[in-house]
């Protein structure tokens, strides 16, 4: 298999980032707390890339992304508590099971809803998010290990920076490969003009469902990793505000930009922690206000998002030789 120059450059950049983090660890700058923040930001990258596929590239508005994230977290966590013993194999089995369950549920929701040509997905996923939250609050009545409103603890903390970093890198490469293929083109054509895509031979329902299922599976996968990196799962971590987190990251990063989603996901995680440090105990109370203010300011200053549909060259496919010089495709919505 031929590996493109872009992929090699991307891997070199990733190695440099990895070395930097290792260096900071070694120098003692990156303590356990900030390491946890970084790891969770990387987990958020995976979930946010999922929503980027659904909303940024396919144009389907979802307000329940955290519910799929939570489904993955609880599924993976519970499987590993019951069957696992800190073995790395159970880490992979459980996070894949979490991703698969999230994907399956997304399929069941998506098939009826995504036939419609409107914003019904937003309403349906909002409702689903509430159902999942209520379900988590009361889950212990059916399955005691899930803990219900008091939260679930005891998942083996198998995930660490090295493992999470490699998983994130793999997911970034896979999402890039999806976006810059005929599947990605079909998805972006739906975002641009659903009727025209349909008339031009694209089975729009199928691709909306595909993007939704893949995106929600990524949320489930991210949730599963989160359960293995943060010892205490609580339903409040997967409520509407968390869905809003993902949505903000994708919109602020710029719709149709993987680079924007990745950078914003990491930046967002650190911003929230800095605010927590600054505001202290009050942070939780003021969080909703801060979100709204950031969103308003960002939309006024830069409505197209930070990266406005552009990609870092490393994430793009090999340039085409067309006789008129080099050119690049892009799948974003920016100008």
């Amino acid at each position: 298999m031929k590996i493109s120059r872009q992929t090699i450059m991307l891997l070199i950049l990733a190695a440099a980032f990895f070395a930097l983090v290792k260096g900071l660890q070694f120098a003692g700058v990156l303590n356990a707390y900030w390491q946890l923040v970084l790891d969770q930001a990387l987990v958020t990258v995976i979930g946010a890339l999922g929503l980027s596929l659904i909303y940024g590239f396919t144009g389907q508005f979802s307000l329940g992304h955290a519910a799929f994230y939570g489904l993955g977290a609880y599924t993976a966590g519970a499987i590993d508590i019951v069957y696992g013993n800190g073995n790395i194999i159970f880490f992979f089995v459980s996070i894949l099971a979490g991703a698969a369950l999230a994907g399956l549920v997304a399929l069941l929701i998506g098939l009826p809803i995504l036939r419609l040509r409107s914003d019904y997905l937003g309403i349906a996923t909002l409702g689903f998010g509430i159902i999942v939250k209520v379900g988590m609050d009361n889950a212990n009545k059916l399955i005691p290990v899930l803990g219900g409103a008091t939260g679930m603890s005891g998942t083996p903390q198998t995930a660490h920076f090295d493992l999470i970093f490699i998983l994130v890198l793999i997911i970034i490469l896979l999402v890039r490969n999806f976006v810059f293929s005929t599947y990605g083109r079909a998805c972006t054509s739906i975002r641009e003009d659903e009727i025209a895509a349909d008339i031009m031979g694209i089975d729009t329902t199928r691709f909306k469902v595909l993007a939704f299922v893949l995106g929600c599976s990524l949320a489930g996968l991210a949730g599963g990793i989160y359960a293995h990196r943060y010892p205490f799962l609580h339903p409040a971590s997967f409520d509407f505000l968390k869905s809003f987190d993902f949505l903000l990251i994708v919109v602020l990063g710029g719709l149709g930009s993987m680079t924007g989603t990745i950078v914003t996901a990491i930046g967002w995680g650190f911003l929230m922690e800095v605010l927590r440090a600054v505001l202290g105990e009050n942070f939780i109370d003021w969080r909703g206000v801060i979100y709204a203010l950031i969103l308003i300011v960002a939309i006024i200053l830069r409505p197209q998002g930070l990266f406005s549909g552009k990609e870092l060259g490393l994430l793009l496919p090999r340039p085409l030789q067309t006789g008129q010089g080099k050119e690049r495709s892009h799948a974003g919505t920016g100008s």
Binding site: R185, A197, I199, M200, G201, I202, T322
Partner: protein
Amino acid sequence: MPVLEVKNLSKNFGGLKAVNNFQLTMEEGEIVGLIGPNGAGKTTVFNLITGIYFPSAGTINFLGEQINGLPPFRICQKGIARTFQNIRLFKENTVLDNVRTVFHPRIKYGLLDALFRTPRFNAEEERVNREAMEFLAALNLADRSAHKASGLPYGDQRRLEIARSLACRPKLLILDEPAAGMNPNEVSRMVDLVRMIKEKFQLTILLIEHQMGMVMNLCERLVVMDFGQIIASGTPDEIRNNQMVLEAYLGKGATVA
């Protein structure tokens, strides 16, 4: 066997009969023009043939096969492509991507090939790129391939829509006012263009057009609609002198000047 055979086609929107008992048979290689005053139901006929609307009554056969009731993307895959009256490109995507997108039904690699960039994926993408560039070259858009579709001038957008529909490899091409808003010079170039693609891609063409210079020049046969019904059909010369048609356009008592 006729390419397109429309029988007794009707479409009601509530109490309004937008299309009433419409008939049309097209043989291979024909260029037929559908004309009529605004609101006559021409675009509704196009929307019925391409599957956007579901007919209230009647049948549509394409190459001997009934297609009414199929979803639009299936009808496209059977070999009917169209352009739109108000251009509907994939605006934020590049010119090249607009054309490459419609290769999708004929792509010979699967999701796993795409995710893992297998040799089959690379070979097929190379073919798609090459062929898409050929379509752009045929429509004189090759040097714009990296531009965003929405950034093209109006005439180029019209041509890109045609390039995109040609990339569906249709047997029947449906053009909805391809020369709308063009000056006489541009109209005559559009006439040449439609002739060229008809020959090059062996098409049967059905078009709606208000520019009489275009339809009279291009079409071998015209069908005239008014209030959802066919009021006349025949060669351009026959239509030019038809009293019903003059009345539909100009009102009662009109004569040829």
